[in-house]
């Protein structure tokens, strides 16, 4: 059963000729429609996220400024990121979609949630929006779960690193953030050495892959790097920052996945969940409408135990060596952390304060 929260953003938060546009939601809805789920599709209306929900992950100052900026008519936050008069409400609704999905999953005790909502979120940091993102949707839901004592895994397979999610939960040991992303690429964070802050070392897992990487490379990242970390972490919930911009047709990046590969990634992620009714997808990027439609269908079908992709899985692209190197680096870094009981120095991981008087973070 698919529990769809939304849609949010199919008619609002429209920046004109911009790749992050309302049609992306239409493409997702078409992809879901292609599956003809019938009574296996349940739609829930998102309530807007409350101020308290948002303030768990964003500063009060940023929220005030963003709301006021939209009310004044909006404009640009940076060369990439627009705000329109409808953007504040859209952002609150988009953040609420994940909360609604979790609520519905808890009531039913089964199914897969999908927050079909934009603007996307994973670049939005505690104190600023950037990279098309205003409010960090996946973070709002994750923080809500954390507040209830749940352990949360966030898997971010968007082609870009989720710098916002990483930053917000840098020091949070009860949230495991795993990201695969093209490197080098915007936003320039997400090196393997970024493993979480003091007190949460190992709770951030970054696997950068080179341009041209194929589906098998990302699957390897989930199997060789993510799976051991997830096994040790034992999440109660699995939230997926589900961008489709790693698709080979996407105009914003240079990875080489097909829609079938997203199904493969989804199957791997489904294994991370402790049981049914504990997985929620959050739409992040994805800017080729056909790719978004097909990848949506393939991903949702895989999570429901079906096959649905007109494309073949891809393999043989560069990056497998890089992934294995990350796996090795991570093993060594974690071993060093375990060994470090008497204040010895830790060279490899970037963990925040690194002997400097001022707090130093990798972004």
């Amino acid at each position: 059963m698919l529990i769809m929260a939304g849609p949010v953003g199919e008619t609002v938060h429209d920046g004109g000729p911009h790749p992050e546009r309302p049609a992306r939601i239409t493409a997702v809805l078409q992809g879901i429609g292609d599956l003809r789920l019938g009574t296996d599709l349940v739609t829930v209306d998102p309530l807007p996220a409350s101020r308290a929900d948002l303030a768990r992950v964003h500063s009060e100052r940023y929220l005030d400024e963003l709301e006021a900026f939209a009310q004044r008519g909006g404009g640009s936050l940076d060369p990439d990121t627009y705000v329109t008069p409808s953007s504040w409400d859209a952002a609150c609704d988009a953040a609420g979609a994940g909360l609604a999905a979790v609520h519905a999953l808890r009531e039913r005790g089964e199914g897969v949630g999908f927050a079909v909502a934009r603007p996307p979120g994973h670049h939005a940091e505690r104190g600023r929006g950037m990279g098309f993102c205003l409010v960090n949707n996946v973070a709002v839901t994750a923080a809500s779960l954390l507040a209830e004592g749940e352990r949360v895994l966030v898997v971010d397979w968007d082609v870009h690193h989720g710098n916002g999610t990483q930053e917000i939960f840098w020091d949070e040991p009860d949230l495991l953030y795993v990201s695969t992303h093209q490197w080098p690429l915007y936003p320039g964070t997400g090196r393997p050495q970024e493993v979480g802050g003091e007190g949460a070392i190992g709770s951030t897992v970054n696997v950068p892959v080179p341009p041209g990487a194929t589906g098998d490379v990302l699957r390897l990242a989930l199997d060789e790097v993510a799976a051991p970390a997830v096994g040790a972490f034992r999440p109660d919930w699995v939230l997926v920052s589900c961008g489709f911009d790693a698709h080979r047709a996407d105009p914003l990046a240079e990875l080489a996945l097909s829609s079938a590969d997203f199904a493969d990634l989804a199957r791997a992620v489904a294994e991370f969940a402790p049981g049914p009714g504990r997985t929620v997808l959050f739409l992040e990027g994805g800017y080729d409408m056909t790719a978004v439609r097909r990848s949506t269908a393939a991903t949702v079908a895989a999570l429901l135990g079906d096959l649905a992709s007109p494309e073949q899985p891809t393999f043989g692209g560069p990056g497998a060596d890089a992934v294995r190197a990350v796996a090795g680096l991570r093993e060594r870094a974690m071993a060093e952390v375990h060994d470090r009981t008497d204040g010895g120095s830790l060279d490899a991981p970037v963990t925040g304060p690194a002997g400097a008087p001022s707090e130093r973070r990798p972004w």
């Binding site: 640009s76 098309f132 990046a253 130093r360």
Partner: protein, 141 residues
């Protein structure tokens, strides 16, 4: 090499944020003049966003940026042009972590957006591990 913490140090590597705007050009001229006087390395740094990476938005040209530096008297051999994926303030902070001991930005443009989020240059000043100079547009050393 004297680095960080010593506010009186003569800079050895200056990173200037450059987005092609008149404010950025003023910052670049100021940085180039300082680099010339001190013999410092000058890094002209352009942050490449999502749209520019995809060719959906334009960015400043390398030659134009280097011409501005040359006009201000910078030694060509000591000037490098860097296009770096990322958000402007973060990209400059990373330059500081990569050895730049002075950061220079213009006072307006996307380096210091006057709208929501306050000023990126102020944010940079909060986050940078080295001194930051904010150059007003009229500054023409």
């Amino acid at each position: 090499m004297t680095r960080r913490a010593d506010a009186a140090a003569v800079p050895t590597a200056i990173a200037v944020g450059y987005d092609g705007s008149p404010d950025a050009a003023a910052a670049l001229r100021w940085a180039a003049a300082l680099a010339t006087r001190t013999g410092a390395e000058l890094r002209v740094v352009h942050a490449v966003g999502l749209l520019e990476h995809a060719g959906m938005a334009g960015g400043p040209a390398r030659d134009a940026a280097l011409a501005v530096a040359a006009e201000a008297g910078a030694d060509e051999a000591r000037v490098t042009w860097r296009r770096v994926d990322g958000e402007p303030a973060s990209v400059l902070v990373r330059e500081a972590e990569d050895g730049a001991d002075l950061l220079v930005v213009g006072s307006r443009g996307f380096w210091a957006h006057p709208g929501v989020l306050g000023s990126t240059s102020l944010e940079l000043a909060e986050r940078a591990p080295v001194p930051v100079v904010i150059v007003p547009r009229r500054e023409q050393p």
